[in-house]
């Protein structure tokens, strides 16, 4: 919240203050990301201290700085197990938070999020069908592409169903999410029923969301999807700001609203697919991160989107670290953890939206 107006004299100070906050936020998030990645890569059955993780990366880059892992299987654990997993967490977190920020911009509603409105589960249904029916048209990419198509169809559905006269009311959006989540759960249940034991396990894994068993091939696929989605989102950031004025006023200041909306929906579907394809449904990241970022640097999408991507990466790597270490020798499903924390946060947001909007509008 901006402080109560001060006099004209302090305007410059305030603008400088705002700039400092922005630079500060990016520095803090960047620093945090480095810290959680080093910590996250080190923790697990084979313990590698952060300094040795750093040294290992430096040696791989051809810079002989820092100590190498002292554990005999340290190097192997880092490069075959931990790094793919941490990289997947970074990419999925960034993709989910960006998807949330873009979706909120398009719907003009701070409660829109791929998990909440059922887009993630739509993508999961499509990905699960690929597994159950053993479809393989594009190798490693098949699941990601299916998730993208599933996400795209669901996002358009949400959009068409929940919009009325150029805006989306909170209650309509949330109810649409309930309806879509019910339909996609039914779809998943049916697929579970059809599936053999192995496919069944994979589907359950989706519903829970997990980064377990990440491989480099998956990281490459997710990296491509996330890079495309995040770049597209950054490019349309300026126009998303204008969309906050409402459809008509945005058009009056030169936004081709229909085209922007289609582009944004495709971007959301790409980003959701990036996260869902190999990590399953990890809800609420796209809700919590953009909201916290907005509290610090305001709602402008040009900063909100990159800051959310960074914040989402930090959050998911940290959450994954927690999921792996909270209980000894147990790898908790990360989707469960994010929902555990995100659920109450969502509740608080709804209450707040209700209060500030003076009702359920």
């Amino acid at each position: 919240m901006t402080a109560v107006v001060a006099g004209q004299g302090s305007l410059r100070d305030r603008l400088v203050g705002r700039l400092a906050t922005k630079v500060g936020l990016f520095t803090v998030l960047g620093g945090l990301l480095v810290v959680v990645v080093l910590l996250g890569a080190g923790q697990g059955a084979v313990e590698v201290p952060a300094s040795e993780v750093f040294g290992s990366v430096m040696h791989k880059l051809g810079l002989g700085i820092g100590p190498l892992p002292t554990h005999p299987r340290g190097e192997d654990a880092l490069w075959n197990v931990r790094f793919p997993r941490v990289a997947l967490a970074v990419l999925a977190g960034a993709a989910l938070a960006t998807a949330g920020a873009v979706m909120q911009g398009v719907f003009g509603n701070p409660l829109a999020e791929p998990g909440v409105v059922g887009v993630s589960s739509g993508a999961a249904v499509a990905a699960a069908s690929v597994i159950v029916f053993d479809i393989d048209i594009a190798g490693n990419w098949t699941i990601a592409i299916a998730a993208f198509i599933g996400g795209l169809v669901t996002t358009f559905l949400v959009y068409l169903l929940s919009r009325e006269a150029g805006r989306t009311e909170v209650v309509t959006l949330v109810l649409t999410g309930i309806a879509l989540n019910a339909m996609t759960s039914a779809g998943l249940a049916f697929l579970l029923f059809l599936a053999d034991t192995q496919a069944r396990e994979e589907i359950v894994f989706w519903q829970l969301g997990s980064l377990n068993g990440a491989r480099w091939q998956q990281v490459v696929v997710v990296a491509v999807f996330a890079a495309v989605g995040i770049t597209a989102s950054v490019v349309m950031a300026r126009q998303l700001d204008l969309l906050a004025l409402g459809d008509r006023a945005a058009r009056h200041v030169g936004v081709d609203v229909e085209r922007l909306r289609v582009k944004a929906i495709v971007a959301v579907a790409i980003l959701t697919a990036a996260a869902v394809a190999f990590c399953g449904i990890i809800a609420f990241v796209g809700l919590v991160v953009p909201h916290l970022v907005r509290l610090v640097i305001g709602p402008g999408h040009r900063l909100l989107i990159p800051a959310s991507a960074l914040g989402g990466a930090v959050l998911l790597v940290a959450a994954d670290l927690w999921a792996r270490t909270a209980i000894v020798n147990a790898d908790l499903p990360i989707g469960m953890l994010t929902s555990l924390v995100g659920g109450p946060f969502f509740f608080w947001l709804i209450r707040r939206a209700r209060r500030t909007a003076g009702g359920w509008a």
Binding site: M1, T2, A3, V5, A6, Q8, L11, R14, G108, N109, P110, R167, R238, Q239, D241, L242, L243, A244, L245, G246, R248, A249, R251, H252, V253, G254, V255, D256, V257, R294, G298, P299, G300, T356
Partner: protein
């Protein structure tokens, strides 16, 4: 600059506009007046390109409006809507800056900051620049949106009841800024409810009734007791005070005491 020829609009079976001809030239303020439901806002919406007329054509700077892209149109005409909405808590200065969007990546973008500062000053929102838009009062939001319109810096200005939520001081202030813009060469269309305000600031008055143009001309020509009493279905007096037209409704008991 901006003209509509033979505009008709139907929504369902209701006829909203029938065969409306309007034109506004640069240097001129055209006021649209008329009773509730006469089609003033619909006409403005059609002229702004929000809604396609069923028949007739809107032209902007001599070209059909349909030939303009959203951005090209936004460089020629700015619109101030009756109700302001904003989904996120942008601060006032950022909202005014949104008016510069059509000029992004043009040579005029260099002037963004100077134009925004001038617009903020002209709309008298200087003391609000760092406030969150959604926390402002209705009148303050209206003036912020007015500043955004000025920042857009277009040769055609369209305003839908810009004075509705404003106090007398700001009503006069907004309309004199509009007048100045017209005197500097802008073409202005403004929907007004207050007939005395319309008489004071407009060059041309277009009286709409049931979706059709009932009268079009200078305030002196149009504002007669006979015509206004008929259009509004209420007897009115048209007075002259210090050389200005003043329109007052006839009250049976001379007001409540």
């Amino acid at each position: 600059m901006l003209a509509g020829r033979g505009l008709s609009l139907r929504i369902g079976t209701a006829s909203i506009l029938t065969d409306v001809d309007v034109e506004v030239r640069s240097g001129e303020v055209l006021a649209l007046v008329g009773p509730n439901g006469a089609g003033k806002s619909s006409l403005l919406g059609v002229l702004a390109g929000d809604q396609r007329p069923d028949t007739g054509e809107v032209s902007l700077c001599g070209e059909p409006l349909t030939a303009f892209s959203a951005q090209e149109a936004a460089q020629e005409r700015g619109v101030l809507m009756q109700k302001q909405t904003l989904s996120f808590g942008f601060v006032v200065r950022d909202v005014v800056m949104m008016g510069r969007a059509p000029w992004h990546r043009s040579e005029r973008a260099e002037l963004d900051d100077a134009i925004v500062d001038a617009a903020i000053k002209r709309a008298d929102v200087g003391h609000l620049v760092a406030r969150n838009f959604p926390t402002l009062s209705g009148g303050e939001q209206g003036r912020t949106a007015f500043a955004r319109l000025l920042a857009q810096d277009t040769p055609v200005l369209m305003l839908d009841e810009p004075t509705a939520a404003l106090d007398i001081h700001h009503q006069e202030q907004v309309l004199s800024v509009v007048r100045e813009a017209a005197d500097a060469g802008a073409a202005v269309v403004v929907v007004l409810h207050d007939l005395s305000l319309a008489a004071a600031y407009a060059d041309q008055i277009c009286v709409l009734a049931r979706g059709a143009v009932r009268a079009l001309g200078t305030p002196d020509e149009v504002f007669t007791e006979e015509l206004l009493s008929e259009v509004y279905d209420h007897p009115v007096h048209v007075l002259r005070h210090d050389g200005q037209l003043v329109v007052v409704p006839v009250r049976r008991s001379g007001g409540t005491r």
